[in-house]
Assembly symmetry: C2
Homo-oligomer: 306 residues x 2
DNA sequence: ATGAAAGCGCTAACAA
DNA sequence: TTGTTAGCGCTTTCAT
């Protein structure tokens, strides 16, 4: 019998209409992914991994770029909901939890990736930003640096604040003063913004011997500024980035940075989401996975000049 | 009346189930996008643009990474078809046209992006690879280079062959000999592969003064090899890439390359696809758009040393 | 213009 | 195990 049906399927080149089934079963085997900007190398790597893991588990991914705008984020959430995705993984642009909590209330599983949203109630997968930045700062301190600049995220959010706090705590733990005047916010998220922000920082004329940035893109931009000012990395100024995007090992000097586990975070996020999708009673359960980070020392950091 | 309905929509927080509508109307307002690897900066930028343009026109994008495998490509095509996407945009991994033509025969619109598939019958959007490479080579020739190496794509496909041919033609047009021994294929698609391939090329001991690569990633990898061999770019060896990925302006020396119009190609692709979606009688029409490329001279190329 | 009815192609629930 | 039936929530079509 089974055999005869299979034969008929073959003969008629029958392809089931998944949508019709989904309408009935209320499962689409599709998840929504909202990132700020897929052309950012970190997010590109994360998107790729999420798609990979999802596909291995028989899910398809709808990709959305919020362009760092809450308005777009809300629009996309509505689109994804109306297209009946089984769940959403989001790297949000604000700390506003309401619309996300509302989705969860409506029994649509949501996992927040990478970001920290204080009042969001269910699934988080993120990295230990504090510890990562702490380790990076200690690395610089161990190299003898006493004047370490810091370029922060344009719009401060908890995850970048954690990084900044890790940096500050490392200084404090080593009896160093935190000089707020060599902490500066970037103008934006591109390489160019890192470049321009570093110019601004250099104009403040601090005796900087090292720099940390909230991500690699900014650090790389800043490194070019340093070079353009006739200074050398790491001889005059050491630089540490954050995230370990692929290019870090292929620029010179190779960038010392904090390795961010892109595939692993994707894996945890998708699996946490699927757990909620497959166990609706767990949709509202609080769950939080924090992945460790690891300092990767390359060539952009060196002992401070005497 | 209209007003009363709208009020009820508000009051009941009514959200239409798009899927149910799609089942009936046979339109999902969703398109499939298949790229080899979304973490490649060129593809990441293209994906981002395609999503942007699609979203502006009220379409959602399902993202798939074929990982340069035909098998995956076929699997994804089936998934997309079973999920009833309205059309597919694909950067294929082979020149096999059959499965794509079959989709078109089954009235599913397909646009082939960036690649050239000789026997594919309907929509193409690509760039003028021949002219781009030709211009790049002429730039080097004008700078006095007579020994120009070339790193080709790992698996040669028509679009990379066009680039190679443009390079060769430029040499011929300037009465220079094409030495096949300084043309080499990369081992893979990453920075690292460019690095390793350049090492292999240098070991051949040609008096290279310039290098072209089939893309920026490879060129950047090769540039690091040159540096690691104690040589300088562009003083000892000039380097030209292809695609103008964002990082090109933020490495030192800034990479001279051929600018690839990522947003524009996405725009043409999505609009060509939508034209077919909205005019089913045009699904099988042949259409081909070739976008011009433009040389961007930066700091990785200089006059040959005397 | 408005209303009624059919049906898209499945899955789930129930019956035999 | 196998067969039957209802209905998911819309759009389309046809009647009013």
């Amino acid at each position: 019998m089974r055999g005869r049906v299979n034969k008929a399927i073959e003969d008629l080149d029958y392809h089931p209409n998944v949508m019709a089934g989904s309408l009935r079963s209320r499962k689409t085997k599709t998840i929504g992914l909202i990132v700020p900007d897929n052309s950012n190398p970190l997010f590109a790597a994360i998107s790729r991994s999420i798609e990979q893991v999802s596909s291995d588990l028989n899910y398809t991914v709808m990709l959305c770029n919020s362009s760092y705008s809450l308005e777009n984020e809300l629009r996309y959430i509505n689109v994804l909901r109306s297209k009946s995705v089984d769940g959403i993984i989001i790297l949000p642009t604000t700390t506003i939890p309401d619309h996300l909590n509302q989705l969860v209330e409506n029994m649509l599983p949501v996992i927040v990736l990478h970001h920290i949203i204080p009042k969001f109630k269910t699934g988080f997968v993120l990295v230990d930003n504090f510890k990562g930045a702490y380790d990076a700062a200690v690395h610089l301190i161990d190299l003898g640096h006493k004047n370490i600049g810091y370029i922060d995220r344009p719009i401060v959010l908890p995850h970048s604040l954690e990084r900044l706090n890790g940096f500050k705590q490392a200084l404090k733990d080593h009896n160093m003063e935190v000089d707020d005047d060599i902490i500066i916010q970037s103008n934006g998220f591109g390489y160019k913004d890192g470049y321009e922000t570093m110019e601004k920082l250099l104009r403040r004329n601090h005796p900087l011997t090292a720099l940390m940035a909230f991500n690699d893109i900014t650090a790389i931009g800043a490194m070019e500024t340093i070079t353009d000012h006739g200074l050398k990395v790491p001889d005059d100024i050491s630089v540490v980035g954050f995230d370990d995007i692929e290019i870090c090992s292929f620029i010179r000097p190779r960038l010392t940075t904090i390795h961010f586990p892109k595939y692993k975070i994707a894996e945890y996020a998708v699996k946490m989401l699927l757990k909620k999708i497959n166990n609706p009673e767990k949709i509202k359960d609080f769950e939080k996975k924090v992945l460790p980070l690891r300092l990767v020392v390359r060539d952009s950091t060196a002992k401070v000049k005497e």
